[in-house]
Subunit: 297 residues, 2 copies
Amino acid sequence: MDNFSDRLFEAVEAKRSQVVVGLDPAYDLLPPVLREKHEALDYRNELECAAGAYRDLLFNLLPRVAEHAVAVKPQLAYFEALGAVGYELYEQVVDAALQLGLMVIADAKRGDIGSTAEAYARAHFEVAGADALTVNPWFGTDGLVPFLERTRGGKGVFVLVKTSNPSSKEIQDLHVAGGTPLYMRVAELTAEWGERSRGELGYSAVGAVAGGTHAQQLAELRQALPHTPLLVPGYGAQGAGPEEVAGAFDAEGLGAVVNSSRRILYAYREHDTDWLDAATEEVIAMKRALWSASGRG
Amino acid sequence: MDNFSDRLFEAVEAKRSQVVVGLDPAYDLLPPVLREKHEALDYRNELECAAGAYRDLLFNLLPRVAEHAVAVKPQLAYFEALGAVGYELYEQVVDAALQLGLMVIADAKRGDIGSTAEAYARAHFEVAGADALTVNPWFGTDGLVPFLERTRGGKGVFVLVKTSNPSSKEIQDLHVAGGTPLYMRVAELTAEWGERSRGELGYSAVGAVAGGTHAQQLAELRQALPHTPLLVPGYGAQGAGPEEVAGAFDAEGLGAVVNSSRRILYAYREHDTDWLDAATEEVIAMKRALWSASGRG
């Protein structure tokens, strides 16, 4: 199988899109029409009712966004919050997305000692079938080896270098020896972890998560990591717009993909149209804004 | 509900045990008799066969260890590695352990931005019903708030302060401002996160994971964190013994619980007896060794 970053950026070129649609189903935010429909059905319990509504949301959304987004990013937490029935839905959503030609980045942020990380890698790459996985760097190299090894089979890894939340500064911005902020040290490690999985377009299969809410740090990371693909969360509901994330792209407009979750899934809240049209319009608008911000417009 | 640390250390006193049995089911390590039995049964696929064998292992083991261990620690990775059927088994195992009077520490090592962490907290505390959860500190305070809030309802949190794997030094041991190793800074934060959830025995419901494979750092952490319960992994298969973990206990022999997983589950490899007797003997031997190492013997 081709290198993950080649596959990712070939999809960017083919679809003229750097959009990743985050799949964060949350019951209270669902379009009321979906909640009412499923609450009127005969489920065994609330978790199964929510799973039915999420399935309805996502299986309707995926075909509509498949031509405009390069990837989807299911957020495991929202599936786990429904227990086993939610976990089953996660697996079904991965299958459906892959069949529609969408890449799948499982946003699981897993990290553990090596033997346990091996089980997580199997879970998300082989059993669920995701193309890429977000991972937490806290354990260091030996905890990441099982994920890194999968890059040889065409899989991708995104290391949490600098996250989009305000408190990320408490640990990630601490200065370590030499006066470097810790996230920069993790960025250097991420580049090292990716050295052996570079694709034909010059990018590694080991990427970095770098929050769009920190525009300056994002641009610094793009400079410091010329071979590392960036996955940029924080667009939309968390506050980042096209200007904030522009620094994530390289001179050719490659090198990054940008995620939006709630702004797309729950676009009905700011549109007068049907929820599915609203979500689709939001993806198309985001696609155009990013394409332009990356200098391709 | 009582404070988590009070419940934990009351169980230690009642059972005269500081043992946590790690539930890390791995197909290749299962007693051959279990594999043969389930491979002869008519399952739909390999994942369901493995889940059947794991269920057999764990549902036989739990009643045998319930009087000798204070808690079990299901390692989520090994359940996720079987997909939805594995996740369902995780939930069943939590239920079974609770019914047997065992506390449950879900070893999920989750961490994310606040809104997502809320979903993880709901998943493991409310839906699965675990008593405590291991969490990753990388996101800082706002990513931990949903977990910390659950301490008011009797739940516990264990922050990954210093993990048991060799590469943990790459990030956790980096020196930050003032020359402090990062894990010590995270230890200080952990103490702060726990200030508002201290129980009657003097310990907080916010604990720290501190690897038994780093004996000196473990003793330092016990000194630096007088109100923080320690969850010590790394005993047994990872190399730590009673001497290495002795420093984790306070002067009364409280303050810590110690986990062993593979050494217990797969004790048949080093015993001549049946796998269940071997596992039970191993728990009893560990219980005695720890009780003595903690100065209670």
